[in-house]
Subunit: 385 residues, 4 copies
């Protein structure tokens, strides 16, 4: 019998940023219902949050261990299907591992884990359990990013020669972490964030976007990773020269001290026959730049798009969709995979268009390679996992 | 006890455009659940749709009369709280009237009714029943439109002198209604749409936006309403010179034959001390143009916004929100009013920031005044209700 | 023998705005040299200005009558070929008439004259003398405006249905004319400007641009002409509904009290098969909006443009040209006509792509029709000359 | 006695790109007249060009040696004051040297010379002769670039932390040099261009712009210089990580194979208190991004600009100036220096706001350091002259 998928959450109390986004995205399409959760390490906050989300008290748990154990005991018609893990980075691996081992599917906020080692271990667990894991690299959820990938795949650019990807933010231009800002505090704390600051928080998005659209893998890195705000413990700025598998060159820039910038991820890809530009400030537009004609403003919701872009669009042209819808696209594709699993029809990974554990492993490797390259006096560092 | 509000739908079968938007908007914030509906005049489509939305068969009704009757019999803990009416214009008044008379609150897709007479009648019923009715003039749901209104109210522009509002679309540049396009068919059919084509479908949005932001009422109209596509039965293009209550002048343009345009509602307001510009192609931005300094790019999600804009934003700066979120803002404010009603604390209309029956009456009057002005040889027609 | 054309100026003293622009435009291409002038009614300012422009004292005249008389006596190898008249509107007709009657060609700043009557008279004089007269409706000098005209002519838009043209400025939002601003003073003075304020100063540009690009003539007007700043003597704001010769509708807006706007002339033309957009804030770009594909960003200096656009461009793509170059394009085409005249090969008017006396007459008629329509209670006023 | 300055040209025949720009820029302001030249190594082309520019035959010379010799013999009231050298890079040093040694001032198209050695030598000659030399790094001639420099100098950004400068072009994405394109041919020929291709042609502009606005000098480079088009002899793409004197980090990108791009130089500078953005596609705009308020759109021609920006603007706000005017600004400042020289009042270099021989030396050093860094396996190369 057809029913909504049942979601449990780890993290996402009522004042958390990314947890709220996960719920908005999960609810929007009417395919997912929240049935349980542990929303905070503070039990009071957790219960209060769960009640606000209209959960019955008995399904607001004290910790995730208890949640997985109790939910696993419930009959199939009641128990949660999957868990969304939206805690700081140091609390990704353990709940994900435990969820998978208890037979639950997992959505996990990026980065996948605290370290590359954890990521590699999680990869093994996903493979051995056979469950579904999705990583919310949100930006690849945008329909015009998918259209960009389609342009590359269908040969409209010819062989790729150059990739620029940049991600300037300005919100950490001052030492917010010493002014009580919660988001800033854990993101600049190596105990909670791991090895990377900006390089992990946003650099991984930039790298993921470049690889997703181009279909190429970064093979060499020459990085400059900096701490610009005095006494900060983790990097807040980075840039790198890149080489890709086919010989293409690239430049990646990610900074959280670009004063006055908001969240301006932008990708440009140039091939032998033309270029592409997508930017997050205008996410429903893709610029296609052919060698010998006018630049074309390719727009979401129009009749001339690829199937993959159309499938990830809810509104007609001129009715802007945004960040939450891009997020929801990842959830919807994850739902499709979980339903296939439940029907015994789960296909191999690349059939599904959401970032998965392999992307998560590459992300953690990106952080490690960037940090190591930056410390090295040798120019090019091979991208190693 | 706290619970989600329960929604029934009239219209919104699985292939309908605006019904889908209503569900996305209603579900997103986790405050509303769909409990029943009649989704199509074709019973097969209605049932199929309802099942797709995970409703039990017994709450997919044959018609709205039956729905209101049966739902009214259910205990308070089960029955629907409100209905969303998302049918073509000629099926707005009857279900709304019946719903209100049965004690249900109503969300209704604009325009409010088929004719001004129906609209005026509905206004009386809302007042006599004391129930809540919201009209989805979506565009006033955008946070930066609310910020614009706040700028005007707080005197940043001084006395308003000039208002330009425009709404070009191009999708009806060809006779789509004769090519089987369902959206085009009912919109160009006077039996289903009423007196106005473009003037009703989008002109009302433009007029509503101008009045909402400026806080002024249109008092005189000089209109030019046209049918540009041969053999079309309703107008597909209009423009008007306007006068507002305080003596300000205005220009309104709305067209559905502006070939190549998507859905580009745009408002500019000029006062003695500065100007404002908001456009739907970049809805998270408001331009403020002071007389003697640089234009300012006022952005959604930033720390310097008014309370009302902030309250209608879900994401931090640089994480674009769009059409569905604007729509959801109307639903959320409607939810607040219904909860107040249920707690016996419903305040007078202007306490709630959503378009209501009074806006709906003005919209229908706008259509009538535009059509009559266009036919008249006298220049200025007083705006009459 | 090949030589530069010799220019005399009436007006354009060292502090004047538009006179300086005329010189920049005339000099740029190396085809014109300034040989004489009377630059101000103040003889001291005139001499001082002329010396600054490196003229010998004997060719800085006391008044234009003297200048024409004395220059006419000089041998062909020395005397001026043409005069540029850059004085306020009330001093256009007399010097132009006298110059033509003395055998000199004329460049005249728009509007052509102080009144429609003067304009019609000048038209006759041009015809009877056979000399060349160019009117500096600058905006049609832009290469991408010419490309737009070419798109219409070559049928890319199909039959034109709708034209929007707007020209918001904000510089007269306060009573500058009472604060010693020279530009504001004469422009708001009916004794110097004539019947129209904004309608003449910028409304004529908007009307000219719409007619030039569309190839259509305005046939009916329904205007709203306003004085928004208290105690001002001439209109500072206007708008009109328009009808064009082929039945197309239009909207024209021109205001000098649009606080915060600079000089933002913008034209949109919609036909059965597509639309066009050009705006002065980004003059090297033309947007072409086909019905069924992506909008195209057509750019000056590229290899895919029409001959007429290319001919009016000095730099390769991506090297922005601006207002002075557009102005210079009018001068260059005028030079071509004068050289043809001097070689006895002057062709009929429409062979030359610069605004001429006929455009000037239409401009003056536009002002008169706008003013009269605004005062009338009848909606549509036929456009009469 | 006041008179125009007299210009002789080396290069700039009638089909040359940059020579035509130099003339447009030099003539525009009415301060310079062309009096002589040698316009091509082909004597026929040279004479034909000179006649087209209205020169008497006797001042169209056979070679620059002859020109300097003959002009030097003319009386002060006749002979040229300065020479503009607009030949390919390998013919910069010799004519510049000879001109200076003959007492003429020099304008020279960038890059200054064929090699760093030549540049250093020229620097010595300028110093020993005491003549004026200007280098046309055009982009620093834009008024809003000067405003940007002013913002940095006046402390609005606080201490600079990060600089991004990029210069994508697409015109060399195909092997145009093998298809008879003259511009492409010499630019990709090491015999004519020198050591650098894209790095010299446009990378030097990017580096110069970053240093000019920030007031900082590049101290370390980590470069990736590439040949992307098969069989090309010089680089057509480069990028670099940078360190500046105050510890700021930077990224520089310059490519001529960015298919579909025109000439899109763009600079972003971030300090502790805010950021700046200027881009050549919209050169009359400077974005100022303060930490805690709306981004400001700072515009050329407005009343709130610095003196230096205003001085370099010819038109009021909203009347776009472009590439030719930026070029002319360099000429005008050069004219000021030459007149000071002629009056015996020449000040020390930094009194004049045009790129000079010191900038030219840094440009040639930039090319050399980039090439050497790219070949090295060590990450950071000190910027050495």
């Amino acid at each position: 019998m057809s029913r909504k998928l049942r979601l449990g959450m780890v993290g996402g109390g009522k004042d958390a940023f990314i947890g709220a986004i996960h719920r908005l995205a999960a609810f929007m399409d009417g395919q997912i219902e929240l049935v349980c959760g542990v929303f905070s390490i503070d039990p009071g906050v957790s219960v209060e949050s769960g009640l606000e989300y209209y959960l019955p008290k008995e399904r607001i748990y004290e910790n995730y261990q208890q949640m997985f154990e109790e939910e696993a005991k419930l009959p199939e018609g009641e128990r949660m299907d999957f868990v969304s893990i939206v805690t700081p980075n140091h609390v990704h691996f353990e709940p994900a591992k435990l969820a998978l081992e208890n037979g639950f599917h997992v959505v996990i906020e990026k980065p996948l884990a605290f370290s590359l080692e954890e990521a590699v271990e999680l990869d093994k667990i996903v493979k051995s359990t056979g469950n579904v894991l999705a990583l919310t690299h949100t930006y690849t959820g945008y329909p015009m990013v998918k259209e960009a990938k389609h342009y590359v795949e269908s040969g409209k650019l010819g062989s790729i020669r150059k990739i620029y990807v940049e991600y300037p933010q300005g919100w950490l231009a001052t030492p917010l972490e010493r002014e009580g800002n919660k988001q800033a505090s854990w993101r600049t704390d190596p105990e909670q964030s791991g090895q990377g600051g900006a390089v992990g928080d946003i650099g991984t998005h930039a790298a993921n976007l470049a690889e997703y659209v181009s279909g190429l893998e970064i093979t060499k890195i020459c990085a400059d990773v900096n701490i610009k705000v005095k006494d900060r413990l983790l990097d807040d700025d980075c840039a790198a020269l890149l080489k890709f598998g086919n010989g293409a060159s690239g430049v990646l820039m990610a900074s959280q001290i670009a004063a006055g910038e908001e969240n301006d991820l932008k990708l440009r890809v140039y091939g032998e026959k033309g270029g592409l530009e997508w930017k997050h400030t205008d996410p429903n537009t893709l610029l296609f730049k052919p060698l010998d004609g006018p630049v074309q403003i390719v727009r979401a919701g129009t009749g001339y798009l690829s199937e993959i872009a159309t499938k990830n669009t809810r509104t007609p042209a001129g009715h802007p969709e945004g960040y939450i819808e891009a997020f929801a696209n990842i959830y919807m594709e994850f739902v499709r995979a979980v339903r296939d699993y439940q029907n015994g029809e789960l296909k191999s990974g690349k059939e599904y268009d959401f970032p998965d554990v392999a992307d998560g492993v590459r992300g953690m490797a990106f952080v490690k390679n960037m940090i190591e390259s930056s410390k090295s006096e040798t120019k090019w560092k091979p991208f190693e996992i």
